[in-house]
Symmetry: C2
Subunit: 485 residues, 2 copies
Amino acid sequence: MLESQRVMTMGATTALTPEEQLANKYIVELKKAEYKTGILDPSTHSPGYHIFQLLSEVNKSPLFKALRTMPKGGVLHAHDTAICSTEYLIRLTYRENLWICTADEGCKAIAFRFSKEKPTLKAIAECSWEPMSEFRERRGEENVRRYLLRRFSMYPYSTFKSNNQAWNHFMSIFILLDGLLCYAPVWADYYYRALKEFYEDGVQYLELRSLLPELYCLGEKKLTINDTVQIYKDTLERYMAKNPNFIGSKLIYAPLRGVDPPVVEKYVETCVALNKQFPTFLVGFDLVGQEELGRPLIDFVDQLLKMPEHINFYFHAGETNWYGSTVDENLIDAVLLGTKRIGHGYAIIKHPFIMSLAKKLGIAVEVCPVSNQVLQLGQDYRNHPASHIICQDVPMVISSDDPSFWHALPLSHDFYFAFLGIAPMRADLRFLKCLAINSIKYSALTTPEKVIGIQKWHKQWIKWINEVIKTKGQLEPREDKSLKK
Amino acid sequence: MLESQRVMTMGATTALTPEEQLANKYIVELKKAEYKTGILDPSTHSPGYHIFQLLSEVNKSPLFKALRTMPKGGVLHAHDTAICSTEYLIRLTYRENLWICTADEGCKAIAFRFSKEKPTLKAIAECSWEPMSEFRERRGEENVRRYLLRRFSMYPYSTFKSNNQAWNHFMSIFILLDGLLCYAPVWADYYYRALKEFYEDGVQYLELRSLLPELYCLGEKKLTINDTVQIYKDTLERYMAKNPNFIGSKLIYAPLRGVDPPVVEKYVETCVALNKQFPTFLVGFDLVGQEELGRPLIDFVDQLLKMPEHINFYFHAGETNWYGSTVDENLIDAVLLGTKRIGHGYAIIKHPFIMSLAKKLGIAVEVCPVSNQVLQLGQDYRNHPASHIICQDVPMVISSDDPSFWHALPLSHDFYFAFLGIAPMRADLRFLKCLAINSIKYSALTTPEKVIGIQKWHKQWIKWINEVIKTKGQLEPREDKSLKK
């Protein structure tokens, strides 16, 4: 019975080469070591905690370090301005011509803007503009750095009494970053930097959901939404030229859901036009923002059905712990609308019919463990509903959503918690390999692109497997000998 | 699709009479009122909190008050010395001949004992005996009351860093209560009182798991385990004579699991002998204690298989958030051993094969929402795995486990959180009626007893329905008019 259960579980039937089996022994050892103390004393088990409480501990974990170097495939669920490290964001604030608008006698950052002169722009709250350099001098460089490190994130732990409050702060970070990142030159650099950070974290492909804002230049000149996509595309080409082993990146146009149906009709038209101009780059559509507060998908059905067949939907749906609300029922409409993947799908286990459809139709659930925790859907990773998705072998990928806002790496922390907290104890390299392959299999890449993608990933994968075997040999010579028997 | 989902959900096809439909409108109104504020601001939604944080708030909720008076059927999962109110326990400490053994200069209660003379018994820790009356005088009555109110419970909130720590304290309450409750006269009175408190809370049947300790009398005389059962039986008969509408009570012999296989063999022999002496009263077997620390069922298979067919198993299994451990895999062995119900089954959603067997074989899961929260398996009721059990329509009953230790009512608080936090938003009186009927359907009552049981419950149920309709009429005359249209 155990065996029949095991083979039904995600990744269980993934084949391993003899080399992979060797590496697997090491990965399993590392995992077991963390479990061992965890079972004896669950208060030491990291998946039982909020990531903010033990980020630095996790970073020291040998298992985490191994996962960090692992080629993990692609990230299929991430948002445009929430993907670079906070350190990089702070570095951006040193750029020339940046102004900051602050309130509460300079204690509260309200907005940023690049400008030759003092900006005339009205921010979302009363505030006064000053050059960033002056602000930094006045408040002290280290103070500003520490302030921004926190202000650009969801830290500290336990600030929020509910997921609505968490979402409020979450959205406020996006709003604050607007003026800093929507400056055309920075927009390009930010994306370039993201590709770099993702690649360094073992991610070779990025499917980005973007609001596609109209960017600005010095002198208030506004660019068009087509320029935004063009900048993305040019930047990607520049990055690919220098990093031929990178698989690539594609865009999902993902404007805000909190609008009226006629606006969604405009969204669809924009998406069609952009896809016409960038047919291989801008390939999908989604709506973003807290599902509870926006309208449910069902309100937009007429408009969404106007989307031509070749542009795919990748809807956020069921990012909630409500059961029987319009939010978790978005899952039904998403599937009826033909979504290719489900963003989050946290509530999917309350909808077994949708789960079985997802399995039959190959609709992958984009699980974002850390995001779900920080946005207060759940606490202990061992209770994450994805355990149930795994045991039913419903297609699943692990993504990071907005790693910037929780000071997490582009994908490693999510992999760590998924592997140690959500997956079964005996999930091993098969599970991890399956996750990596899934991230290409269920991506928006075309079939020929997927073939190349898998090749590029596999090349890195083999390299990594050999490194793991070598490292293991160095660290534990006795163990290595016993393997040779 | 929504409709096809709905009819698959637990209770959805339960029929309602016209009167029940009227009452249902009121219940749904009360439920919606709580949801309404909860959706606007989840930080006000009680199922998102630990029960200790808002017990008095919940007690004021109109929905809770309605559920409190509702005839809820039976409690099928509760433990012998954890079912009476703490106020009653404190009252017991006023009985004649009671001694207390304290440490830390009287600040820490270690043991109780009824005795004419100073007890010579060695407690589990170093302590000194004094008459309870002297202790109370010395420390002050109100101080002692407040101390015991807490010491006999899992309060305060957030004392424990893990479920192991919670379990440690949990077991220490049982141990402390031993000397107070295992005194033969008190044992009888405690059970009588429990039946009374349960009945007052709308519970007409109690299936009690008991360690069946050997009780003591004054003068150190020890009774046998048969006497313990006899006392239970006599007390029940005494209670039934005065309360003919009560359905009854049965025993499940449930000794500690943290033992070696030969001891389990003895358990089985004891169980067989007791069942021979009390064939209609002691009808089942289980093992209790934290599953993580005791041995898994698989270690006892040979011994357990010696149990004759007519004595049923009602195993605790999967009371954990581990996945792939010996603990959640107890679920497999429990079902293979032919268990009639599953105690807790918190991890069952990680074992879809077991879930489908439970559904096909009619094995009910005994879900104890508050217990799971207090023993730190989960926090937010909306994430409780029973949501998934409900949407799959796997047989389920709601029980309270050890309501005494969390100052909860015998069943009402568990019903409240199950109804408002775990069930779908649109779950209504059908769901509640189904829960009540399930608690008789899946009980250890014989078929003729079940028929009588359902009749007794139904009599109260109709009375309650009429009261609800009347109350509603009084409270909202306008609403009532509109119903008459």
